[in-house]
Amino acid sequence: MNKEELIEKLKSAELPKIELQSHRRQLRIALLNADYSERQPEVTISDLMKSKVRGGIERMREGLVSPRPVWKTALVTTLAVALAFGLAIGLPPLIGQSPELRAAEIAQNSPDVIAALGGDEVETVRILNIEDNMATVVVEGKMGGIVNALVDLYTKAVTQAVVGPQLTDEEEEQALNIATADPRVQELLDRGAVIDLVLPMYVTFSGVNQETGEIEEITETWAQMWMNLGNRQWGVQVDLIRGKVVSVTD
């Protein structure tokens, strides 16, 4: 049998057109009765802090070793502040008094944050870092707006609310093209993983200006995407400027 005959055989096979009305009805009832509060992934802020955000930032630092050609290859300092806008999780239950939960509560109720979101409702709150009673929090609105907020846990106030980066459709497509060309990502895709989210992230680091010899701060917008396969998740950081995947982390 040649290829054309095989294709013809596949196309002409009588396929099952079976539908079980009882299953359809029962599943519909079960879905519609499911508690909406259970829709969101059960991820707590503390889980996130341990498993995703801190790891992500540390790995970001490791990844920042190949600046654009105008800068010297070696970075003068390891100081790299990455304001990652990469995690999309459900709004965790705001109970308890941990610093993470307090920071999230303060940020999502802040008039400054709501104003920066253009009056939109808060959908997700992510804690990136807490240091010296100052928390860096990312708030995403239901309409997709992102605000990076600094929360003073001592005064319980938001001291800064800055509108986060946005990716254009072209940048998002570029990020997907870069990622899917990467062998590590390709391997995950081949195993059945899917890219669920593509989000922008700011990356700020110090580098030496080759022309002046001075240390300057560079801020770039990269993309961060999340891949899922079953219960496993990978974060993929894409340097849009140099057109490469910086890291793929489990």
Binding site: L6, E19, L32, G90, N177, G192, G230
Partner: protein
């Protein structure tokens, strides 16, 4: 339902159970049919379809509209669930006891419908033979072949469903068909 209507419905469904019910009504048959063609088992198709829709409900708020049809997202979830099923279990071999235990025995009409569906599936000998050969392929080949020839999806749409580039899909399809051809010889 056009794209804009679907988009609006998906947005409503993020906060409205009834709207999700409309999406479910729209796509249940497609997803169940796809899973059935992948697994050739009524019981597995029921379980995997249920799991897929619950995952869709749970993760709907994370769905972002990027020009990819909502149905592709559902197919993607279903494909992942099928992959999970195959990686977590041996090929499906139910004993009669297992089959009856999995059913809602308090609903005689459901039992009758299930048995009729099983009989109907067993009647499709040609499909079952083809499926048996397809099931010997790696999952990555199975899914592109089923989506292309049983679900009649174009390469672009298969790429959207599987998160692969069109060229990759084409290459997988070519290699998958070649392997399937050797198996059918």
């Amino acid at each position: 339902m056009n794209v804009e209507q679907e988009r609006e419905l998906v947005e409503r469904a993020k906060n409205n159970t009834e709207a999700f019910g409309e999406l479910y009504d729209q796509y249940y048959s497609q997803i169940f049919g796809y899973v059935l063609k992948r697994t050739a088992s009524i019981e597995v198709a029921e379980d995997v379809t249920s799991e897929a829709f619950f995952k869709a409900l749970k993760n709907l708020r994370q769905f972002r509209w990027r020009g990819v049809p909502f149905s592709s997202w559902l197919y993607r979830i279903a494909s992942n669930e099928i992959a999970n099923y195959f990686t977590k279990s041996k090929p499906w071999q139910s004993s009669p006891e297992e089959v009856s235990n999995s059913m809602n025995l308090s609903d005689p009409s459901a039992e009758t419908e299930f048995l009729q569906a099983e009989a109907e599936l067993r009647r499709l000998e040609e499909f079952l033979t083809v499926h048996e050969n397809i099931s010997k392929l790696k999952l990555k080949y199975q899914e592109v072949i089923v989506l292309r020839y049983f679900e009649d999806k174009q390469l672009k749409e298969i790429g959207e469903i599987l998160g692969k580039r069109e060229g990759t899909v084409k290459s997988l399809l070519h290699r998958g068909l070649e392997k399937l051809r050797k198996l059918t010889e």
